[in-house]
Symmetry: C2
Subunit: 409 residues, 2 copies
């Protein structure tokens, strides 16, 4: 019986990060609207106060708040209307006590004014006057200069996944292009004599290739750029040729191969041959996903990842290893995990971190996490799951009712 010298997940991640370092991503500038969902590669500061002038938040009259202090329905205050501020125009009139200026929502406050009375609380009074029936406190219905963001304030931190509101904030500050991290290029190679492509009919003993589709989609979802996918037979020369060619145009080459011993040896041999320093991780103490191989070629700056052939194992290793790497390299975070109570015991495996695909069921008591059981080759284990949680290695695992954090798919 052969034991692989396996790395813990933490150690495999650390070794990978040490090698890949800053070479996984670079920076590029994209037009504002194309930055949605990308990761900010630089802090963006407001170049000017937003807004750059005091604005009214209502249709009404700009006043000196002190003038209105005594105003009430039975005892209105009378003010002289000095004019009107037009939208998009500077407020050229200034006011002093006893005076006011009409302003539209979004209009600029005139000098002297410190509050706005909504027009609902005013009535025309005489040719150029109004009666105010409610007091306005200092600053009421006014957005101050720089109240949204002061010049120099951080409006987009490095590492943030850019949301529509970030794009709005950048637009308000006049930012037309955003510096984001590049999407690392990925090639997915799926090996196996038993694999046939989607267009072919399967014969007895053959199955359709899943991994080029599943892994390419997963890579895309995580923000990688998939440059090519290929299904290969179990042939060392063909694999070597395909990996070599992929290294020229990819930061990551994934080989998902059958999990049988001979095939794994072949992947390792090819990685060792094509990379300067060879394979540095052979086996990770995770379940599923143990037969994972990682190597790095310094010359091309390419990470080589040999993932299990079982689609579920391959996808989980992608999540835990390559998804993690991209977040680490860009300083970004995944979406918040959802807390849920376990519907049954989840015993941990000796020596291995275990990843549990699960359903999330919501009721009055909150979420329940219900593990989806299935052999690791069964893709439907994942299609039925909403996410996954993990149990640490060398623990007793978790018991029914304990809280787990579910990472959503």
């Amino acid at each position: 019986m052969e034991f692989l010298k396996v790395d813990s997940l933490d150690s495999a991640r650390e070794k990978m990060l040490l090698r890949v370092k800053d070479r996984l991503v670079s920076k590029e500038s994209v037009p504002l609207l194309e930055s949605l969902g990308r990761i900010a590669a630089k802090d963006v500061l407001a170049v000017e106060d937003i807004p750059s002038f005091r604005r009214s938040t209502v249709d009404g009259f700009a006043v000196l708040s002190g003038d209105t202090a005594a105003a009430g329905e039975s005892m209105p205050v009378f003010l002289t209307v000095k004019g009107r501020v037009e939208m998009g125009q500077p407020a050229t009139i200034s006011i002093t006590s006893g005076e006011c200026v009409e302003v539209p929502t979004g209009g600029m406050l005139p000098k002297g004014a410190d509050a706005v009375v909504m027009c609902e609380y005013t009535e025309e009074f005489g040719p150029d006057g109004i009666a105010v029936s409610q007091s306005a406190a200092y600053g009421e219905n006014v957005v101050l200069t720089g109240e949204d963001a002061k010049a120099g304030a951080l409006i987009l931190p490095r590492g943030k996944k850019i949301l529509p509101q970030d794009i709005g904030a950048l637009a308000s500050s006049g930012v037309a292009c955003v510096c984001v991290y590049t999407s690392p290029r990925v090639t997915v190679l799926s090996t196996g004599d038993e694999l046939v492509s989607l267009k072919q009919n399967t014969k007895p003993g053959q199955i359709r290739d899943i991994n080029t589709y599943a892994l390419a989609s997963l890579a895309k979802k995580h923000g990688f750029c998939v440059v090519s996918t290929e299904v290969l037979p179990d042939d060392e020369a063909a694999l070597e040729q395909a990996v070599k060619s992929a290294m020229e145009r990819s930061e990551i080459v994934i080989v998902s191969g059958g999990s049988s011993k001979g095939k794994k040896d072949m992947t390792r041999k090819v990685f060792d041959k094509l990379s300067l320093s060879g394979v540095y991780t052979h086996g990770i103490a995770i379940k599923p996903g143990k037969p994972t191989i990682l190597g790095y070629d310094e010359a091309y700056g390419t990470l080589m990842a040999g993932l299990p052939g079982h689609p579920v194992s391959a996808m989980i290793v992608f999540e835990l290893v390559l998804g993690w790497l991209l977040r680490e390299a860009t300083g970004s975070q995944g979406p918040p995990a959802v807390p849920a109570r376990l519907s049954c015991n989840a015993p941990s495996s000796p020596g291995k971190l275990t990843c549990w695909p699960c359903k999330l069921i919501y009721d009055a008591d909150g979420y329940t996490a219900e593990p989806v059981f299935g052999k690791s080759g069964l893709i439907t284990t994942l299609t039925q799951a909403d996410g996954y949680f993990v149990t640490a290695r060398d623990t007793e695992g978790l018991k029914t009712g304990e809280l787990v954090m579910v990472h959503l798919f």
Copy 2:
């Protein structure tokens, strides 16, 4: 003081759905890899058993489990090796008691075999025999025919947002194209004399347009297809022309206009003029977002949505009204909301459902939801928030420590 006859959110949604009905989306077929993130428009059933034959999950020997029942390290069982199954080839040999066949991981089980012994628990014994040192239970290390999905089983339900694992499951079933809902076409018009485009410098009284950027990005994030965006002055003829032209190529025309009374009247007038049955909702009892206008034109099949000019209000109305509509029309669901404890009181507004942008803070006790306070014009209220929760109308609101469900941005 003028009161608008406002709809409740539920009533505005119901009236909208009644009009838009099945005309918001249609169905289209896309290649498998392009279906990621789209919404399935039809149930997809497995056309054949997956897998279509019994497969080994390990490298080992296919056996009759009964033969191995007594096997142990000190008392091995001896079996005759009848041959080997090759990957991707049918298993042509059949076995009976006392016999076995070598199978690789993923290989087809021969007739007669009902379990696989891992090669780690076997040793060569003589020219064509092995010694088995551990018993294998019936079905051990075997994936049965149809165990992943039986022919006719549902592998992708209508309304599901397609994930990488769904693409994997579809690939395994030989599905090369997927029927998904079309992305409704949206035009975003932002009106205001005070608005200048990103490329211009602002003069006193002017601000940069936020809403074409923020709403177009939000629409894209929700799965709409943004066909065009435009910034317009407050001019009725220009608005009418722009809306009319947008109706020809959009299922939804959004006009985000200043929230001042005169502007709202203009939007309403244009909607009334250009749609057969006119505006049916003028004002929704939500905070922020009350001055929302909805109309529908049966001839073009276009929904007209007048959103507030304040970016935060406009985005929240988009989430609560248009985002909801697309999910309803496609039978899809948003991601699960995250339960969190309130960090402070959240009093509800009389007569209005209130939407609270909030941060999610995680500690040992789980998540805390911390409302981000700010006037509705301030886009940074949203950039600081991770999501939002709502308080129902005509309630007392929620108190510190109460549980809220946070919908993530």
